[in-house]
């Protein structure tokens, strides 16, 4: 009965369906290749540590991120305030951990919006082609002809810097690259024999796209999604730095740096630590993305090995 709905999308799933062991399925191989990338593994560990710190740190910290204490303004880093205090006597480390929740959440959510838009629009354009495809691609060309920050600023000025608007704006202005990748891979994948076979079995287009095309185009999506988080975190911090992103007193790494701009002659640590948090997070994500690319795209590794 309608076995095609459960048709195995990947070879190792097929093996599993047949009750065979999946000694060397592509995902298993990819995992092994990823684990061999020492820098990526170390970065993953560092990132997980950061996430744990950001998630549980604020609860464990004795300080409140929004509690001001004017007797403790501009305290340099010390055992009681590991990263010092800011112009209102707030503990910087607590604010950075709290801001990390905001910045990381925005990064992940904005990436999710961008990838969803890119995959849906690019996938439909690549699969159906025709006028809609041509229109969409011209639209993408045009969107890419604007400096992205200009559009971000224009929209943020008018829509205000609420958490959700920042997420939606960042997502809505970052899907173009992904849509191009997905469109291109759907264009070539839909000519393959397994798609022809599925069509011959009267599998609906929706199922062909989600069960047969998408799993085969997953590798570049995963890499783009990883790197997309890094880009979104930087974009959010830039917006908040300009005063258009997350609004104080809610801390985000970007708006902490905005405050630091006026304080940095007296208290340079207020400018150093929030930026360091962004930097470490983004470096880690970029290395993980690099490792994932090597793991998921063996062709790429073979090419670099031959060099």
């Amino acid at each position: 009965m309608a076995t095609w709905t459960r048709a195995s999308a990947t070879p190792e799933a097929a093996l599993a369906d047949l009750g065979l062991p999946d000694h060397a399925g592509p995902w298993r191989l990819a995992l092994e290749r990823f684990l061999a990338h020492r820098l990526a593994v170390a970065s993953l560990a560092a990132l997980l540590l950061l996430v744990v710190l950001v998630l549980f740190g604020p609860t464990l910290s004795p300080y409140n991120p929004e509690h001001t204490n004017l007797n403790l303004r501009y305290e340099p880093p010390s055992p009681t305030h590991l990263m010092g205090t800011d112009s209102l006597g707030r503990d910087l480390l607590t604010r950075i951990m709290f801001g990390g929740r905001v910045s990381m959440t925005i990064g992940v959510l904005a990436m999710t919006v961008a990838i969803t838009l890119g995959v849906v629009l690019g996938g439909l354009a690549g699969f159906y082609g025709g006028v809609a495809d041509a229109l969409l691609m011209r639209f993408v060309d045009m969107m890419l002809s604007f400096p992205r920050l200009f559009l971000l600023i224009l929209f943020s000025v008018f829509f205000g810097g609420h958490f959700l608007t920042v997420v939606l704006l960042l997502g809505a202005l970052s899907w173009m690259g992904v849509s191009r990748i997905i469109r291109a891979s759907f264009l070539s994948l839909k000519e393959r024999q397994f798609v022809e076979a599925a069509k011959a079995l009267a599998v609906p287009n929706r199922v062909i796209m989600t069960r047969h095309l998408l799993p085969n185009a997953l590798a570049p999506i995963i890499v783009a999604a990883t790197l997309g988080i890094a880009t979104a975190i930087i974009a959010e911090s830039t917006l908040s730095f300009l005063g258009l992103g997350i609004q104080p007193p809610t801390p985000s790494w970007g708006n902490m740096l905005k405050d630091a701009q006026t304080d940095m002659s007296i208290a340079p640590w207020t400018a150093v630590f929030p930026g360091l948090a962004i930097f470490v997070t983004v470096v880690a994500i970029n290395f993980i993305g690099d490792g994932l690319r090597d793991a998921l795209d063996p062709q790429h590794v073979i090419r670099s090995a031959r060099r």
């Binding site: 911090s237 830039t238 740096l257 701009q261 940095m264 400018a271 930026g275 930097f279 970029n286």
Partner: protein, 317 residues
């Protein structure tokens, strides 16, 4: 080639037109607007608001306003700023040279450093030099531009007092080339760092691929020196993708300049855009978007033409 160039320019016109329509829609579609600042002012009656709206032409339908804007724009009348009442063209003409001066320097510095770094990291792959610059470029690609700017200000400006903290020149002083260059150092370093990281990575990958091509082995086999094979044969081919990347990055450089201009108090286009966006100054915003779109389209054309010069296999038809 010149026929090709002129045809491409003609083809760019619809794109520019499309961009101008989109800019107009975006700027006007968003809520707020130049009148919102007065809406809650007690001294301004609804009648005043209506008169102001009529004066600015905002009571007309959108397409009428667009056509009016376009015809005026094409005849060189770019309108007047809502905020300063100055002609938009004059405001842009005042700021554009400052941005071009900054961006031009950044471009030259970036390419002058990125090309040797890219080539050397490729021919000495896995050496300490390669590892050092690979690490540095990962840092450059992961660093928010504005944070680098702040760090440079703290270390080189505030602590060591080597460089001025902002501005284009010492205020009130006569023109002095050394002073000018001194003010250029920190913003140019900030903007170039990311560019160097980006381009040298790109060139490294491209060089590695090219160095293993048969024609390089042939060149070496027929007795060409290593240097000559690398620089005359490999680099010219490996630089091809860099040309496209460099041209396509031009809008990004514009953007990087916005934040950098903000930090270093540089009176350029980026800050003009920022000021205009925050006070809903539609005419100025339209002028800036038009100029930047034109720059981007021209940069793309320049990339295509340079491509043809570097790679004679490409024939324009």
């Amino acid at each position: 080639m010149s026929r090709y160039a002129s045809r491409r320019l003609l083809q760019a016109l619809p794109l520019l037109l499309g961009i101008s329509v989109a800019s107009f829609l975006i700027i006007n579609a968003v809520p707020g607007g130049p009148l919102s600042a007065y809406e809650n002012a007690p001294s301004i009656t609804p009648l005043d608001l209506q008169r102001l709206e009529h004066q600015l032409g905002l009571d007309q339908p959108l397409y009428v306003r667009y056509v009016t804007w376009l015809t005026h724009f094409l005849t060189g009348d770019w309108g007047y700023s809502y905020a300063t009442q100055q002609p938009v063209l004059a405001m842009i003409a005042e700021r554009l040279p400052n941005t071009l001066y900054l961006m031009g320097t950044v471009y030259v510095v970036t390419l002058l450093l990125a090309v040797p770094v890219g080539v050397l990291t490729a021919i000495r792959q896995y050496s300490w030099f390669d590892h050092l610059f690979t690490g540095l470029s990962f840092a450059g690609l992961s660093m928010p531009t504005f944070w680098l700017g702040l760090l440079l200000i703290i270390v080189l400006g505030l602590t060591l007092r080597l460089f001025p903290l902002g501005g284009m020149a010492t205020p009130g002083a006569d023109f002095d080339l050394v002073d000018r260059l001194w003010h250029l150092v920190l913003p140019v370093t900030t903007l170039s760092f990311v560019g160097i990281a980006h381009y040298s990575r790109y060139l490294r990958a491209s060089m590695l691929e090219t160095l293993h091509q048969d024609y390089i082995r042939t060149a070496r086999a027929k007795g060409l020196s290593h240097r000559s094979a690398v620089f005359r044969h490999a680099l010219k081919n490996a630089a091809l993708p860099l040309v496209t990347i460099a041209a396509l990055d031009l809008p990004e450089l514009f953007v990087g300049a916005l934040v950098t201009e903000q930090i270093f108090g540089w009176p350029g286009m980026g800050r003009l855009f920022w000021d205009s966006a925050t006070r809903s100054d539609y005419p100025v915003l339209m002028g800036i978007l038009a100029v930047s779109a034109a720059l981007i389209v021209l940069a793309n054309l320049a990339a295509d033409l340079a491509y043809g010069y570097l790679d004679p296999r490409i024939r324009y038809s």
